[in-house]
């Protein structure tokens, strides 16, 4: 009964925000931020597209890319979007233990992806592709590195959310907090969808 009352209160606060738009300002800010992130990654992706054929020294892209390995990494990140959305639905139901479980699984999948990227970078450096080896190398490491940093920040956000839910430190709408973290996480996933196709699957 108490749980139902809390759930109803959550819904009321979520669907009836006392703002000029009637929407959550926090959520609006996150969408605005994600819109601006499109410009950041758009710049990095187009720089890569411009320079990917400029290999003055070092290995050629298609000679070093390990497509099976990157495909598995992509699959891991894609599935982390599923676990994230399951965390959001659990939070909307007011089920804290499931929310924490799915958030933790999402963080583990994200960390696995970052680990894979570190391994990939190490392998590329061993094969002679440094950051300043060629324009291809610089643009590749900058693009995928920025994405990797975003995933790492996402993992920290997920783990922090688990921590504050456990300590019951969220004063506002808990489901909305999880949803906003989820929006960031899904964005990181959609950016990788583009990077995977344009960088790895389309030969230069």
């Amino acid at each position: 009964m108490a749980e139902t009352a809390t759930h109803t209160a959550d819904h009321a606060s979520e669907h009836g925000h006392e703002t000029s738009t009637g929407l959550s300002n926090n959520k609006l800010a996150m969408w605005l931020f994600l819109g601006s992130e499109c410009l950041l990654f758009g710049g990095l992706i187009s720089t890569y597209m411009l320079y990917r054929g400029r290999v003055s020294d070092g290995p050629h892209p298609m000679a070093i890319f390990d497509i099976p390995f990157t495909s598995v990494s992509s699959f891991v990140l894609l599935m982390s979007s599923l676990t994230m959305v399951l965390a959001v639905t659990a939070a909307q139901r007011g089920d804290d233990s499931r929310t924490n479980l799915w958030l933790t699984i999402t963080a583990v999948l994200g960390a696995t992806f970052v680990g894979g990227q570190v391994y990939e970078f190490t392998a590329f450096i061993r094969e002679g592709l440094g950051f300043s080896t060629s324009l291809f190398g610089s643009s590749f490491y900058t693009l995928t590195g920025f994405h990797g940093i975003h995933v790492s920040v996402g993992v920290l956000m997920l783990l922090s959310t688990v921590g504050i839910i456990r300590k019951n430190k969220i004063t506002g709408n808990k489901a909305e907090v999880v949803e906003i973290v989820g929006l960031y996480w899904h964005f990181v996933d959609v950016v990788w969808i583009i990077i995977f196709t344009l960088v790895y699957l389309i030969p230069s």
């Binding site: 929407l23 410009l39 495909s71 992509s74 599935m79 599923l82 959609v190 995977f196």
Partner: protein
């Protein structure tokens, strides 16, 4: 309880089973994308990859990020940024191509 779940689905989008179905479709599309690396798709290679990329992007944004079910203001904010990015960078890339030619 079931009424509460149904009401929840109506307000927030889909059920967990629905999201799992979307994830399976995304996984299948990813497998198809990877297959283009091994199988020769001929002239269909590039268009098919681009279409699959866009379909995956739209599915994640619409369903997982709830844009399909949420306020249109959120869609406007996101797609304005995306559209602006596409316009600016396609123009920039086309300009480089123009000067190189």
């Amino acid at each position: 309880m079931s009424t509460s779940t149904e009401q929840h689905e109506q307000e927030h989008g889909m059920s967990d089973a629905g999201y799992i179905k979307i994830a399976l479709i995304l996984a299948a599309i990813t497998a198809l994308e990877v297959s283009t690396y091994y199988v020769d798709f001929g002239p269909l290679f590039m268009p098919s990859l681009m279409i699959m990329m866009v379909v995956k992007f739209v599915m994640v944004v619409s369903y997982f990020m709830h844009l399909k079910f949420d306020s249109r203001i959120f869609s406007f904010m996101f797609y304005t940024g995306l559209g602006l990015a596409l316009f600016v960078y396609i123009t920039a890339l086309a300009t480089f191509k123009f000067f190189i030619s």
